[in-house]
Symmetry: C2
Subunit: 283 residues, 2 copies
Amino acid sequence: MSPPKIREGNVRGYIVPVGGAEQKQRDGRILERFVALCGGKNAMVAVLPTASRLRDTGERYVKLFEEIGVKSAVSLDFDERADAFDAGKLAELEQATGIFMTGGNQLRLSTILGGTDVARVIRRRNAEGVHVAGTSAGAGFISEHMIAFGQVGATPLAGMVTLAPGLGLTNRIVVDQHFRQRDRLGRLLAAVSYNPFVVGLGLDEDTAAFMAPDQVIEVVGSGAITVVDGAGLEYSSISFVRPGEPVCITGIKLHVLVEGAKFDLHARKAIPIADAKDSGDDA
Amino acid sequence: MSPPKIREGNVRGYIVPVGGAEQKQRDGRILERFVALCGGKNAMVAVLPTASRLRDTGERYVKLFEEIGVKSAVSLDFDERADAFDAGKLAELEQATGIFMTGGNQLRLSTILGGTDVARVIRRRNAEGVHVAGTSAGAGFISEHMIAFGQVGATPLAGMVTLAPGLGLTNRIVVDQHFRQRDRLGRLLAAVSYNPFVVGLGLDEDTAAFMAPDQVIEVVGSGAITVVDGAGLEYSSISFVRPGEPVCITGIKLHVLVEGAKFDLHARKAIPIADAKDSGDDA
């Protein structure tokens, strides 16, 4: 789906894909930053554990958000498509100032929520200013083009990545998660080479892209975001190589960004961390 | 060491780093191409198994070269520094039209051959037109700046790669091998970010860079070469981040090249495979 239309006078909420494992970190910087966006002590967070098959995933996040300090946190258990039309749960979603999708399997998210009232409400509310975050599978699902699954490896092979329609809050990015930890450059390159309009974001674990309404992404967390920008693509053989064969791609621009650095999706420009952080010359 | 000086009227030989595992492939395209360069049926190949601790490494390659069809192939067993001054072995090296260094541990090559007559002879003979190839550890050792060891992972961490002086046939490239198979983009990015003068070459297994005297590299083999070009580097935090922390780098250019594609190290330009290979539109 295309990104939801934003009505005049409205500003869409932040879109926050997270690379996974953010809850395992002691400092919890990413979740704290998300809560601050959503109103801090007045935040009302709805957790969607749909991607996960573990019974306690939603409740674990509810506890994490309560520990940070919010007005309310609730786990909305959309476990099959019929749940996604439940009026009571939808009412809770309408109250939320922030929506958080957990990890698991992104195909559970797309097959259970795709085309339901839940998807419609999240899209509308994000367009109205509500912030939406997703971690791991939840991060992959956020954008219009979602990496459904793929093979590992640093260089792209034809057919190594399978895209599927996602929630579509934005169509500017394709997200891959656990990036450093699971060796996924090849499949992200393959995804971008299909159509270099999209920018590939490879999110390390415990690392998030806070994508502001002005399309500028800020990096938060302990890892890095690898930005794969195909706008300058000179050549790609992906239209004719056979499955399993390596793909020839030239002219990709690559940025590795750490906390504090930004990327402007509109200008396609990396804004590195301030040189002020430099501790100076060795004397 | 700096690349050896080439006397007027001479043309240096090819420099051929190989990503490893080329001997396991049935078609042996890379070794055949190397033999053709070295004179085909008149080729005299000297194999240096110094990197390997396995007794039969040299003899296995001698057999492979004999099967392809050469005038002679001989394994020169420089196993400790004293061997590297052996007049008889050096005389054989002086006869060779091609020199091939096997895989193993690149630090064995640099610690045993560095600063010896063997290193001097290889450097001089390459400058005179003799072709030099190395696979895996042998590939890493070829250039002036050699990746001695490092950590795996797709994004660069400060201190994750340790460089050491290599044989120095060229100073234009830093080579990493088993690239796709061992998840080494991070350490190659870290190596290039120290000084973007060098171009990083990530060689997949069964894939070679045939580096011609005019500094144009041609890809041969079944995998890909990932070219990491830092010439357009906009920002790098590597001068001040602490060991283990992710490095912020912007403006890296990336090319993934497959067989037939070229990269001009002088112009820093990728030349993709001919569009002629395109099988045409679907009708």
